[in-house]
Amino acid sequence: MSFTAAKWRGHFPLLAAHRDLHYLDNAATGQLCEAALDAVTSHELLHRANVLRGTYRLAEQADAAYENARRQVAAYLNAASADEVVFTAGTTASINLVAHAFGEGLNAGDEVVLSLAEHHSNFVPWQMLRERRGVLLRILPLTADGRIDLSRLAETLTPRCRLVAVTHASNVTGAVTDLAAIVAVARAVGARVLVDGAQAVQHGPVDVAALGADFYAFSGHKAYGPTGVGVLWGRGEALAALPPFLGGGGMIGRVTVEETTYAPPPRRFEAGTPPIAQAVGLGAALDWLRVQPWADMHAHTARLAQRLIDGIAVLPGLTFLGPRDLKQRLPIVSFNLEGIHPHDACQVLDGHGVAVRGGHHCAQPLMDFFGVQGAVRASLAPYNDEADIDALLAGLKDAMRKLG
């Protein structure tokens, strides 16, 4: 299968409807691919019913679609079983699920290790757990260019460490975490590892078996799927060891007045009616993504990222956040221009048809580390092309003229 950005772009209906749009906010939300849109539409038109409850044919069709989506996600992740795939509302819900269910087993003095590069969704649930259970949070420091400082692993992961929760890739710097090194040290001290995969899954299939982590969380909407759905993958024995988080219909074995027994995973963690059509859409998106020519697509987005990095490098007053080596990073490029607030830059860029994000990117501890309040972030997808980068660069020059 040969790849061109234009051909790939043709699979995204919104981009066809907005031909002048330079959409470079893919780290916030990827556009919905037609495979997902078609699957959601078809499901809602032909197979809409609640799941795991009905015995009529329509309900059984809905069951089949929902469970097929679970298999499609498992295939994308190279999971050992579809039963290791829990559908949630998104990455945040997945992490909160672990923070509550795994956190139930933690006590005062137990330690949870995070990195300074985490999104708030992988910070706040653990701070809340600290308030509930008295656990100690230890923070992995960063190198000057924003990568997790692996030289500090051994001293940070003590024998009291019960869980390491780290991002697969930073939503600000694009820095990719060396998970193998972290997993090895975590294993040595007997800790579980949770990976926030929100920024990684959309850049190609993930091999959870090879990563060696225990939990992997991500969102559908960043992976060209619908909003409102996400995934918590958990290694079979790791999920089986967890109590439920939310209680309600669908997650039980038997309910009596006296007590409730719980269903095995994944249903144990899917209380209430799940996001059925959204899961079906996500399954379709990942099924389509799984067979894309990723080597070509990575080369394409890396070329664009380099074009952008080279283009901003000559602008006066540039502060660049993150590693410059493209081998260590995803095509997520964050920066500041002296004297121009990120929101103002983004507003001017909007006038050029360029959609980028400015602000703290829900990563205020990382912003504090860099000594900035926020940054402009351009995050690339394979449907982007040179014209998108050039429009961004032209818009930045205009912003400097107006505001600098």
């Binding site: 607030h341 990120p342 929101h343 103002d344 507003q347 001017v348 860029l349 909007d350 006038g351 400015g358 602000g359 703290h360 205020q364 912003m367 309040q373 926020g374 107006k402 505001l403």
Partner: protein, 140 residues
């Protein structure tokens, strides 16, 4: 059109930074944070008989936020809490697009912000912080 926001008058207003700084021994101080973008405003006030005798501010924020703070720096001295609350309401109404008086001439520069709902908070943050600073001074 986003560019409408950045007319020369509002750029000049922000650059003027009128009233920026810190007060020595203020009667009240407040800090306001924008959860959306991380902007931060600190306001110091001195009061005289319930009215603002002097104020100073420090803004780490966008141009709209700095421009709103500069308008405050030019005009807020002499206001009491009720008058300040009225100005804040009029600014909110101006942004919401409802009819409102423009108590200060510079506030007309913020009319293009109406179309950008996510930026309304940038303009209001200095006003809300000043309200909080005044409140803290009166409670001190």
């Amino acid at each position: 059109m986003s560019d409408d926001l950045y007319q020369q008058a509002i750029v000049d207003l922000a650059r003027s930074a009128d009233g920026a700084g810190r007060l020595e021994a203020p009667d009240g101080t407040a800090q306001g944070d924008s959860p959306l973008c991380g902007d931060r405003v600190r306001m110091d006030v001195k009061l005289d008989g319930g009215r603002i005798l002097a104020l100073a501010y420090d803004v780490k924020g966008c141009l709209l936020c700095r421009a709103a703070a500069a308008a405050i720096g030019r005009h807020a001295a002499g206001l009491d809490a009720a008058q300040l609350a009225a100005v804040r309401s009029e600014v909110a109404a101006l942004l919401a697009g409802t009819e409102a008086e423009q108590p200060w001439p510079e506030l007309g520069n913020f009319l293009p912000v109406r179309a950008h709902r996510n930026r309304h908070g940038c303009v209001l943050l200095p006003f809300d912080t000043l309200v909080a600073a005044l409140d803290s001074a009166q409670r001190a």
